[in-house]
Amino acid sequence: MDGDLKARNRTVGAALRHDSARKHTTGEAAYADDLPEPPGLLHAALVPSPVAHGRILDLDLSPALAVPGVVMALGPADIPGKNDISSSGRSVEPLFAEGLVEHWGQTLALVLAETRDAALLGARAVRPRIEALVPVLRIEEALERQQLLLPPMVMARGDAQAALAAAPRRLSGEFRCGGQEHFYLEGQIAIAIPGEDGEQTVISSTQHPTEVQHIVSRVLGCDYNRITVECRRMGGGFGGKESNASWIAAAAALGARATGRPVKLRLPRKADIAATGKRHPFLYRFDVGFDDTGRVLALDATLAADGGHTLDLSGGVIMRAVTHALNCYDVPDVRITGLVAKTNTVSNTAFRGFGGPQGALLMEEVLHRVAAATAQHVDAARERNFAGGPNGGETPYGQPLEGDLIRRVWAEAKADARIEQRRAEIAAFNAAHPYLRRGLGGFALAFGISFGLLHLNQAGALVHVYTDGSIRLNHGGTEMGQGLFIKVAQVVAEVFGVPIERVGITRTSTAEVPNTAPTAASTGSDLNGWAAHAAASAIRGRMAEVAAEQWNVPADEIRFEDGLVRHGNRAMEFGDLAELCWKKRVSLSATGFYRTPDLSWDPVAMKGRPFFYFSYGAAFAEVVVDTLTGEHRVLAADLVQDCGRSLNPAIDRGQIEGGFVQGLGWLTCEELWWDKEGRLRTLGPSTYKIPGSRDVPPALRVRLLDSAPARVETIFRSKAVGEPPLLLATAVWNALRDATGLAALDLPATPERVLMALRAKG
């Protein structure tokens, strides 16, 4: 494939703005709830469980029906298909709880009404009788009770126990990180519109239209071909609309099936936060063996994720956590055990990074402890243990890392941050100030790109060229703000050599491109870019044949550029050639398909090549901490991110900055707080605090790694950028430790956690 057009690129590599940017600013960009409501629309509301754990004795829905405007109330018995919304298919996960409730806020039933207020009132009127059971809320407790959602996942190389025993020095540790609410600004929503013959059109704010189609069909008990799922755009996703959108849509579709009327289910913010999954909190325990130089020789670690009450996507999350537990470091003898604990909390799910951010925390803790034990700076310990160079260059699962790129991003971030000079400034400040302390922390990253589930690494596209030369682009990827649509449009414009304005962007629909993977795992532009490239190239090839015939020249000498089709001194408008093709009865429409090559994975041995390539990055962050109150602030951050040869540097920069700030929120201010009864009490932005503009480092410097085309055949040698930058915020955790001298600091490092850790240290 012609993947590297180099200097000929006109559109690919240009810093074009988001295709909807202008419409975003005028309010014209329509989200699901903005669409004109179809006549007869009913509104739906969920009936949530009032307890975290219990046996359902009686679910009487008649009080809901007594509320004026309520039309119908549906419980588990009203599901014509299966009461199962599991995305993995490895367990049964009910749409409506049956028999047992397993988390506070779990959906018990659905109320349908003429107005949204009536539906909400109706849902509130239901008073389920539930015999309360003791909830298990903490990972530790679940582990003690052996409540696991999956068998342990073990990745090993060498003999960690023997190497630990043989290591000159040893230590062990334990720490925790918290979960994270996605807080997409647009809450979960689906509109199900019934049609003929059991058909339904489902407008869903989803990252995974195909899975919405499957789960709606499973719940309704119908063929997939009855259900068409559409999504023009989401108001943010971040993983929160990968699996969770499916059951929201299934509930709406169930209502539409039962009433024969269109049904909209839009969750109020509190209901959304209560009922949808979040990033997995983790508990870490480790034994590490090392020598006096700080070289880590052996590591035996357990990463225990809080899966919540069902499996959802936890299998993939723990796999990514385990495969990223060494990040960009080499440890010769290693055993990483991944556990997914079952607790009575909402089922945790995909969130930007998908376990990778949690996995990568392990070596940060290990290196801090080892550095402290060997009296060296943690950054020296980092450099001592980078994969490649004098150390081993392979991950424990057998895939090579590019040691030169690890060292390059690290060196460039160090240089950008002027760390020697800054350390001196910081030391002088700290010596002079009675209670404020500044600190500098670094971080380096190798993030594997591809879906952990091998079969998801595929994509389709559908491209039409019309006889005026305008192009209609459709593919399986979804737009959640990340700029996928403009990037793929750039690829298509590049192939046809036309201005980007000629490429029409259209909503994602299961009716146009079927059987797709979710837009997730940072793979959106890698997969859909190639699929669209394949479709466009097929049409271009046919068009070139027609032009070649017209001019009596070889087809491979026909060039498509500047909106023209050229050979030597001859040229015609792209649209004229399209018209000519039609007259010659040549198809101007094609599907494109792509599957990522060269992937392999043995899930039992935990060996193989699960990732097409790695994305590298490095960061330094500077913080200031008030040791009297625990308040802190990030003053500066220098980020270097490998985007290969960027498809669109403006979009990529947006992903880097946005990802970093989202990671900053996860690690510092965003805290999910459950009370003793297992009720989540941080249900809205008044209590769950995501970063605001002032939390962004006033000196935030971002650089895309220069002259670093991907070494494998990615689309135009670009690299994925959706998730990796989120992990760069880990530098902030390290900076907080540098500032405070704290050996241990659980996450999120809220002012409270910082102050209490300082006081415990004395």
Partner: protein, 472 residues
Amino acid sequence: MDTIVSFFLNDKPVRIPPGTSPTMTLLDWLRGPGRLTGTKEGCAEGDCGACTVVLERHGRRMPVNACLLLLGQLHRRRVRTVEGLGGAHPAQTLMAESDGTQCGFCTPGIVMSLYAHAQEGGDPHEALAGNLCRCTGYRPILDAIARLPPEPPSCGQDEAPPAARFETADQVFHLPNRLADLLDLRAADPAAWLLAGGTDLGLRVSEHRERPPSVICVQNVPDLSAIESRPEGLVVGAAVPYRDLLALCEAEAGFEPLRPYLGRLGSRQIRSLGTVGGNLGTASPIGDMLPPLVALGARVRLASRRGERVLPVEEFLLDYRRTALAEDEVILSVFLPRPPAGRLFVVEKLSRRHDQDISAVAMAATLDVADGVVRGARLAFGGMAATARRAEATEAALLGRPLAEESFAAAAEALRLDFSPLSDWRGSAEYRLAAAGGLLRRLFWRAAAKDLPHDVMSVPAPHAPAFAAGTA
């Protein structure tokens, strides 16, 4: 007496059909009957800003949360939504050109905040504090703000609105415009919601979907909206929004420390509507305005048909969300005594996020030091008890002690005698005590070492960014 809600929406007159609930939120009306879906619902609790629209009053633009604003409050006012900017306002073009949009859902609200900021000016972070963006990391939005051309306020004074009463089958909404009428209404219907800005009561409609049978809105009563500056202090009407109080504090000797503190109270959207009287009436233990009122020894003036009375704020606040307000009374105004020159007045707040967060602990302190000895101290805390109140044992521990770090560290230990705080999502009891002690110790450094950067926000960044230079 007006009986139909009418207002200007994007310069066009709108009359709300009779029968429409006067407590419907503007957001619900816009997205429903108004068919203007540019304004988004992100949280329905006034915290995310996706529903930001602008009220234009007396030629000034005030950003507000449409989710908290009730139709009745809009009567005879001028509202602008994103659809009313024409599509090419610099707030729009700059946001697009700066890559300030990703998913775009927060964008219309941010555009409206920028539209207001073009006139308001000031700290760009204050302009954005009421708008959450989950995608961009804000940097490009701050870039757009830095390039936003300032726009002068337009001249013009809105007419004083006539009295109004909006009635439906199950609701009545009163908009009196005279104090005597307000007091009559209050006496006749003590169960009615007494609504000022609605930033607290509005939540009960927007989020909890309540339909109050009866509402008395005080916003048009001139006596409650007056501000008077006297040598001995400020008289602030109960319905004066924080926005105006904040502007006043900037200019009034002795009250300057309140300015940055009020800059963290809610957001510009909240401060356009929220009032001092509302904070007093709600009497939340974490009402941000209460600790400074208690520390300053402020007095509240109450009125009813029976007459007026004055109470110290300390006596007005009885318990958790309970006050001395009689059922026929309204809060008329509050008097803030002016701190004399030489008295240290400090107001502090600890929260998880600097901006637009409810405090875990708030402290207001006045300190008189003579010859290196603490001669007077009034310390009021919020978030430490069922209501904002003074720390008397701690004050006693400071009095007569030298201005020294040890004195304040010792006083911090006395906080345990004054308070047994609760644990919740904003902070554990232990943290609240420890952090309140930290604030007290920081008070020493504010008093003794005035040139230090005293908190993390006062430390400059090691290298200046592009967008900090272009502060509008």
